[in-house]
């Protein structure tokens, strides 16, 4: 019969490495694949000497290890919140505290092991070359990273309703703040699908950064170039739009019994995307406010919001599946692109807004999820 430790390692550790195979392949490629085998040791020795000598480099390395630790914590918490793993609560909850902490220690450090190996080698190099201060910092930091999550896991076991790091803060907020319907979808994303929203936002920010970078390289600023970047950024939100429809279909059906006008539902939809696009608006403002007028910036934001609203409104056609949606989205982008190039942006915004409103007001009350047979 397998031991409890082996079973828990199978549930957490094995699954972690299976699910992150792609991540580790990329990591190994950058750490070991980009250097020829003859100079591999000197390359890593040089890298380690770099952060053992330089405090700012060491700080960056520690930050990267902390991020990896958060990734490990996120994985364990996700498993504990996943359907089918509820048995872990009574099973682990019935162990005595010392044994439970030992199991958490083994689980967490088994998935934190890649950092331990690299940090261990770095510490040995540090001692060999008399960088005792840096070696001690690395040791203390990693011991902390190996221990603090245990308290969080153990707390989660006895307070399963904790989504994030502090249950107290969550309860305090719940008592004092009523979530408005406009934030429901964002709550869903941040509590249930944080990776999805963060990835979308990160890639979208990268797209805008690339847009500004290319214009800076060419030593010019063209509003049409920025709007092209904005359109691509909007396209990167498509997965969130279909997720929004699925969320409304699955969880918000009860709201149809509430006396809320179609206009209010429409403004809520617009506000969801306005809030969702705030990070991009801030980024564009910071990078472009000296290069263009306020009106032009407003036009760019209106275009992005109008595209998002129209693409979401299209999903009120019940038979609009992902494939059809992408087709209509690309067709719309094609038309809008030429309007932008011809400086007909306000007309494009007006048309998108009118079409969104027509689709929404004619479809909302009649909409029902379509089940493909």
């Amino acid at each position: 019969m397998r031991s409890v430790t082996a079973i828990l390692q199978k549930i957490f550790t094995t699954q972690f490495y299976i699910q992150n195979t792609g991540f580790f392949l990329v990591l190994f490629y950058f750490l070991f694949g980009v250097v020829d085998s003859g100079s591999l040791i000197s390359y890593h020795k040089g890298l380690m000497m770099g952060f053992l000598e330089g405090p700012s480099f060491l700080l960056i390395v520690l930050a990267l290890w902390a991020l990896y630790c958060l990734k490990c914590v996120g994985f364990v918490m996700k498993v504990l919140q996943s359907q089918g793993y509820e048995f872990l609560y009574p099973a682990m909850g019935s162990m005595d505290k010392n044994r439970r902490l030992r199991e958490w220690l083994l689980i967490h450090n088994a998935i934190y092991l890649p950092v331990w190996i690299y940090a261990g080698v770095a510490m040995m190099v540090g001692i060999r070359y008399h960088y005792y201060g840096s070696s001690i910092i690395i040791l203390v930091f990693n011991v902390a990273m190996a221990l603090w999550p245990l308290a969080l896991y153990d707390r989660k076991l006895f307070q399963p309703d904790i989504f994030f790091f502090t249950g107290y803060l969550q309860r305090w907020i719940n008592r004092r703040f009523t979530k408005p319907p406009v934030l429901y979808f964002l709550y869903e994303l941040f509590t249930q699908f944080p990776r999805r929203i963060l990835t979308a936002k990160l890639v979208s920010a990268l797209m805008l950064w690339l847009t500004f970078f290319l214009m800076q390289q060419g030593d010019y600023f063209d509003l049409r170039g920025l709007q092209l970047g904005v359109m691509l950024s909007v396209l990167l939100h498509l997965q969130l739009l279909t997720h929004h429809r699925a969320f409304d279909d699955t969880w918000l059906n009860f709201m149809e019994n509430l006396p809320i006008s179609t206009f209010r539902h429409y403004t809520r939809m617009a506000a969801v995307y306005l809030i969702m696009w705030i990070p991009e608006m801030v980024m564009i403002t910071v990078n472009a406010y000296t290069k263009t007028s306020v009106l032009s910036l407003l036009m760019v934001f209106c275009l992005a919001l109008s595209l998002l609203m129209f693409f979401r409104a299209l999903l009120y056609f019940p038979k609009m599946n992902n494939e059809l949606h992408v087709r209509y989205v690309l067709l719309t982008c094609f038309v809008v692109l030429f309007m932008v190039l011809g400086h007909y942006e306000w007309l494009a915004i007006l048309l998108l807004q009118v079409l969104s409103a027509i689709v929404f007001f004619s479809k909302y009350r009649r909409y029902e999820p379509y089940i493909e047979s």
Binding site: F163, R171, Y184, W251, F254, E256, N257, P259, I371
Partner: protein
């Protein structure tokens, strides 16, 4: 015949191509009605149609003047619904939902607070619904159905999963609200306790239609 509280005219509901409801005409005066039917007969679909949760063909009128087609907001203000198996987004708390219902349907906030205390909902109202048991969710859903000033309250299988104390409170609420002119449509596979509530009529749903006995 007294003035109907709820009247269904040529109500049809299909799921894709499959017809579920086809009710040419049904008028119900104020009362407490027990909606009966076998599993899959269309009881829940009928309630969802009446509550405005799902689209349908035809028209439903409340108090003779408020139409589901022409006055969708006023219609929803006059009809409340408690689902058989309620579920809400995991991150919402009972308080979030109560505030949403009180903010849109209106009603006496203090009275709802008192009912919440009687049912014991106030103990867990600040916790996310993901931590609720099925009984706690059912209590919350019943409480939400009594918010506002409805003319009709639809209760889908209210007898299941709740404890006997809450059941007595629910019967009491039905009696009190009915005395104030609220009409109830209740589905249940178990008979409603005749000592607790007096049924005005039994509605039978079969062959996609509803008949009043």
């Amino acid at each position: 015949m007294p003035e109907p509280v709820i009247a269904l005219h040529a109500v049809k509901k299909n799921y894709q191509d499959v017809p579920i409801l086809d009710i040419p005409h049904l008028e119900l005066p104020a009362g407490i009605y027990w909606l009966q039917g076998e599993n899959g007969a269309g009881k829940t679909t009928c309630m969802k149609v009446m509550a405005g949760l799902i689209p349908f063909k035809g028209e439903i009128r409340l108090r003779g003047e408020v139409s589901s087609k022409d006055h969708p907001v006023a219609f929803r203000r006059l009809i409340n619904y408690a689902e058989a198996e309620p579920f809400y987004p995991a991150f919402l708390t009972g308080r979030d939902l109560l505030e949403l219902y009180l903010g849109t349907k209106g009603g006496d906030r203090q009275l709802i607070g008192e009912i919440a205390e009687r049912m014991g909902v106030h103990i867990f109202v600040n916790n996310p619904v993901s931590t609720y048991s099925s009984g706690m969710l059912k209590k919350l859903s019943l409480l939400l159905a009594f918010t506002g000033n409805p003319a009709v309250i639809l209760l889908d299988e209210p007898l299941i999963t709740i404890d006997t104390r809450t059941l007595a409170i629910m019967y009491d609420l039905v009696r009190t609200r009915h005395a104030n002119g609220v009409t109830f449509l209740i589905t249940s596979h178990q008979p409603l306790d005749p000592e607790e509530v007096t049924i005005t009529g039994t509605l039978r749903i079969a062959d996609k239609n509803i008949t009043l006995n």
